[in-house]
Symmetry: D2
């Protein structure tokens, strides 16, 4: 991290030199240093060595696609109930940012089965996940969502697809009873159809939410929200697999007052 | 889960009978059933057996205090970079809801050191965490934040205190270099002082955010956000421990246009 | 206004006595008093006489329908460019709350033509508008939106209908060139179809917004947003009438990244 | 308005030629045209003639300062209860955008008394208000807020000051009983002190809100909120002048749960 709080995700190697706007860093000097220590640039600016968090690793993946935001990934991990040892299918793994968060959640004894239909994306995601140190916990597969998944009895399925409904029947077959599904979509139209198909396939406890994150500029005597924010990343839809279809009320939890 | 989507967190025992608004459930009939199966009440209403997620366990703790919301807990876990095997201090463990989320994140080889100054709260939290099945991953201690923590070199510290600044020096001593801190506070005044003290104590990469979660009522042809929402749970402040104090710009990331 | 900030909208008459939770008010004692003065109850609690604002009058109408929120009414008045002397059609006048805001904006020389298809609602709205002192600036008519409006060359049309598209062709005929239209709807589905029909009918500069209002609980040393808020009242769609149809881009102002 | 929805606020004069990214417009050709008509550029692109609304006029003022957003101006007009014939003081008139909205609200028989302490700003604001056609309804004065206002018995006072508390005593003296005050500030610290001083000066019914406006990108089959939004413009504080000071509870309307 530079003194002006720019961060760089780098591997420290012998002889490696990294250029910055505040001078060059001789990375091999960092070998043996503790995290939190200061490494000076050739222009004597103090950079701080920080251990990358999951969020750092997600945000720094090499991107071929729009990546999922950490706030959304965090809620998906929590709401699908992931923990060490679980098995989760991710369909539409894109650049692998979410794959990293899922792999971290199920490590050291679980596994992420990461499907994508685009080979170039898949290879990039695989590299990103390996670079983040989670290669052992993820298996990548080239497949269309509607062609089904190889796994059975998985704990959760996460869909990040333009047509999430294409993956719902496949997800249902792969999930164990009571298993959780999560789907991320930017438009209302996708959400509406996704929820319809989830209900048709017998999923229950369906809910859709959106998360807004607003940064606060904290400064003594003049604390205030920042001027601009990301106002939309996507809607998150969650559900659980029932073994037997019963009448569901979907997420119609309010009184009906649409006009 | 009842047909109208009420959920109950219960332990299935022989001879146990649970009353609901739709008739009684004979819980022992659930023994041997797969999750996702239907269990009928004495009035023949179909309830679905669901495996509790971390969110379910958090929301159903016996409460002596306001609990942290899942959306906030999820972001704290992600931003503090928790994963299997890590050691984390939680100060102000309250009813133990966040303790459960932290324990799940560091299991099966890590540990949560959960401090609280109120013995009654601590005992309730301990029971809640044990009931959730995470007793092996949490250690409870009765202590004031300013009296210091027993641990050294921990990966992260989470503060949920009325005066979070009371715990910052203690946190700094307990954290490893580059270790992460998170603090949750409902008021701007708390956040302002917390950020001041974090900067004084040499923390860097300080940022404060708030998360708003809005539920969407999805219903074919009449999809809309729900009418009312929780508009504030708390501000979340994050930082990382530098070993050497350098000039920090705190979270003043915007241009200065307060008037 | 009571000492605990409850407000009552009342007409002061001789002999009138009003019961409150803090004792009775003898309203005739208020005759001749200046606004801002204190009137005591029979139990000696101090109530303050306040002149009702437009917002007060809107919020206190006798309701037969869901009323429009002041924040939305305010934006409609601004974005339709209303001012003294203008003529505006309101279709779906409901309980007349918005009618009051529109009448105030065009008084003392303009007029609101308030259409509704429900006679009972219309009579209630008429009474509410008269009680608010704006009877001279509003004309009520019983009519379905698709049956057309009697006026021509009006400055603006405001639609508050379950099927706003039913009123768009009628609005177009009634509006002057460049005249403004506003439509309020709670669901995405309504908004989507409304915008389609607006574009088909040649409206331009179409935009849709939602307004969220969050109250702040200001208290020295513990200032924070309130816990709960109204998260959705409706989407507001605006447009302007072009005399000649040109290719419009509707409100597609972002880059296209829906998947 | 250009075919790609860029808007220009221009005065149509004989011989005037305006360059655009789509060719030149010969503005004199617009003389005698109805609003809503099409005017072609020299490159044959169709521009539409639109009558400027109050919002258009506000957004197009020549700026020497940050201007108030229309959403906030609209709520201020509504909550201060402005209407034709009222007299309102604005202190901190900046570039005059809010002055235009206030003048429109009180025209044709009311008046805005617009104070600013910066002569250059004041002259710019005066020109902006005159260009918008509201010169007759605004009077500009060079003055510090704490030096008092010349008017008495005004209906409302609007403060847009870095130190709004400097203007509260002056506002109180100028307001009629029950008169409304509004103050706009970007930081919590300003709001906190402003509310304290309002309560000390005997104002009642004090409330603070923030308005968030989110644009929706409506497009058949892929409707969604836009990606980015303005997340903060300012907090709006409102109050009413009581003639006698009584114990006030300020805006502490929630239960007290700050820890």
């Amino acid at each position: 991290m530079s003194p002006d709080e720019k961060t760089y995700l780098v591997t420290v190697d012998e002889g490696r030199r990294m250029g910055t706007h505040l001078g060059d860093l001789l990375l091999e000097n960092a070998i043996g240093m503790e995290y939190g220590s200061v490494l000076q640039t050739t222009l004597l600016h103090p950079f701080i060595l920080l251990e990358p968090t999951i969020e750092d690793r997600m945000m720094k993946v090499k991107r071929h696609t729009q990546i999922i935001y950490p706030k959304d990934a965090a809620l998906i991990v929590l709401k699908t109930g992931l923990g060490a040892g679980m098995r989760v299918i991710e369909c539409g793994s894109g650049s692998g940012a979410l794959t990293i968060a899922l792999a971290n959640a199920v490590a050291p004894t679980g596994k992420v089965y990461a499907y994508d239909r685009n080979e170039k994306f898949m290879e990039n995601a695989r590299k990103n996940v390996e670079n983040a140190g989670f290669g052992a916990f993820a298996e990548f597969k080239l497949r269309e969502a509607q062609d089904g998944f190889d796994e059975e009895g998985v704990d959760a399925v996460v869909l990040d697809l333009p047509s999430p409904w294409d993956g719902i029947a496949s997800a249902s077959r792969a999930l164990k009873g009571g298993g959780r599904i999560a789907s991320l979509s930017p438009t209302y139209n996708q959400v509406e159809r996704c929820v319809e198909v989830l209900a048709e396939e017998g999923f229950v406890y369906i809910e859709t939410v959106e998360l807004l994150m607003r940064n606060i500029r904290v400064s003594t005597g003049k604390t205030r929200p920042v001027d601009r924010m990301v106002s939309h990343t996507g809607f998150l839809t969650f559900g659980r697999k029932a073994l037997k279809k019963i009448a569901s009320k979907t997420s119609d939890t309010d009184s009906d007052d649409t006009d």
